[in-house]
Structures are given as structure tokens and as C-alpha cells.
Symmetry: C2
Subunit: 123 residues, 2 copies
């Protein structure tokens, strides 16, 4: 038993109004993404400086209290901005973990003097 073939759907991308609206939204997403990447670059510079400062002065790289405060604050900001706070927390945790992995890879290659740690890069 075979189903009848579905009738060919009209191509919505051929509707100029739909295509224009999609292009408009994508332009905004691209602008926002460019800003996000630039801010991530700036954040990374700051966390590298924290890592160097901690390494130079013998401060422990990890500061779990600081990280808890950061998460709590970012969840509040997310709620105010109408962003799911769970998403904001997962995003923050991902960025912290990735920055740590990045520092570890660089530390292994010996090219910078940053000590990786659970909180150093995030802090």
C-alpha cells in the first residue's frame, strides 16, 4: 500500500514579502552575532589578565564563591531581559569551561603563562 504523492507545495521562498522578512531578521541575527563575538574577544582578554595576575601572585586559580555569585547575577539579568535563566546559566557554564580548556591547551604548548583553573578564566 503506497500513499498518494503529496501535492507540490508552493515555494514560500518565492514570496518576496516572506523572503524580505527572513532577510531582515537574518541581518539582525548577523549583526548581533558580530557584536557577541567582539564582546567574547574582550571578555577573553580580561580573563587572561585575571589568569596572569593570579599566577603571578600565587592566588588560587579557582574561586567557587565568585562563580556562584556570577551565575546568580546573570540569571537575574536574564530574567529582566526576558531570556530563559536556565539558558543563561548553561551558556555561562559553557563559556567558562571552554575558556579553561583553551587556557589549558595554550599552557600545554607553553606559549603563555596563564595557569588554568576552575575559576581563573571565568573570574
Amino acid at each position: 500500500m503506497t500513499a498518494s504523492p503529496a501535492p507540490a507545495a508552493p515555494d514560500p521562498a518565492a514570496d518576496p514579502a516572506v523572503a524580505a522578512e527572513l532577510a531582515r531578521l537574518r541581518q539582525s541575527i548577523d549583526n548581533i552575532d558580530a557584536a557577541l563575538v567582539h564582546l567574547l574577544a574582550e571578555r577573553f582578554k580580561a580573563t587572561q589578565a585575571v589568569g596572569r595576575l593570579k599566577a603571578d601572585t600565587g592566588l588560587p586559580p579557582s574561586d567557587p564563591d565568585r562563580e556562584r555569585r556570577q551565575i546568580s547575577r546573570l540569571r537575574e539579568i536574564a530574567v529582566e531581559a526576558q531570556l530563559d535563566p536556565e539558558f543563561a546559566e548553561k551558556w555561562f557554564t559553557f563559556v567558562v569551561a571552554e575558556v579553561i580548556h583553551h587556557h589549558e591547551r595554550i599552557a600545554q604548548s607553553g606559549s603563555i603563562d596563564v595557569v588554568p583553573g576552575a575559576d581563573g578564566p571565568a573570574s
Copy 2:
């Protein structure tokens, strides 16, 4: 055989100059993080609108070509901003995946009419 106890290290956090520099850097990180969360909220609004538009017009939620172009562009922006392009790509992939999961959870709860898909939320 027991090792001699290590001599007590001076507490670097007690050095006012170190504490002030750490506080300064952390203030910058907190400012950047607040901006990042606000931009993520704005991005999410745009991707939700894309999801609704695609669902309303029957456009496929996934657009792998678009996603490849986005990754390629963000890697270039990262290089220009002196951010590791691998980090930028992993970050983008994480955000896209999380947005999809978020849309799926909401779609399952029936509270919005966004169709989740591989590219819809990112696109």
C-alpha cells in the same frame, strides 16, 4: 616518612594593589557578561521570529548552507578580534543547539508555535 610542612605563604589577597587590580578586572568581566546576556536575549527574540515565520509559511526549519556561511563569517570576525576562531565556532554551535533544545521544550509544552529545527533558531 612525612614531608615537612610547607612554609606559610603570604596571602596575596592581602596586597591592596593586587586586590584592587583583581576587582577592576572582575568589574569589566561583569559588565561584559551583562552585555552578552542582553545581546543573547535580543538574538533569541530574532531567532524566535525566524522560527515563527518559517512555521507559518511552510519553509523548512533547517538551512545548512546558511549555517555554514554563519560559521565561516564568525570565524573571520573572531580572527579580526583576536579571538580563537575555534572557540568562536564552538560557541556558535553551542548557542544554536541550546536554542533548538529550548524551542523543542517549549514546543512540547505547546505554549508557542515555533517549529524547532537544525537551522531555524540559528538562522
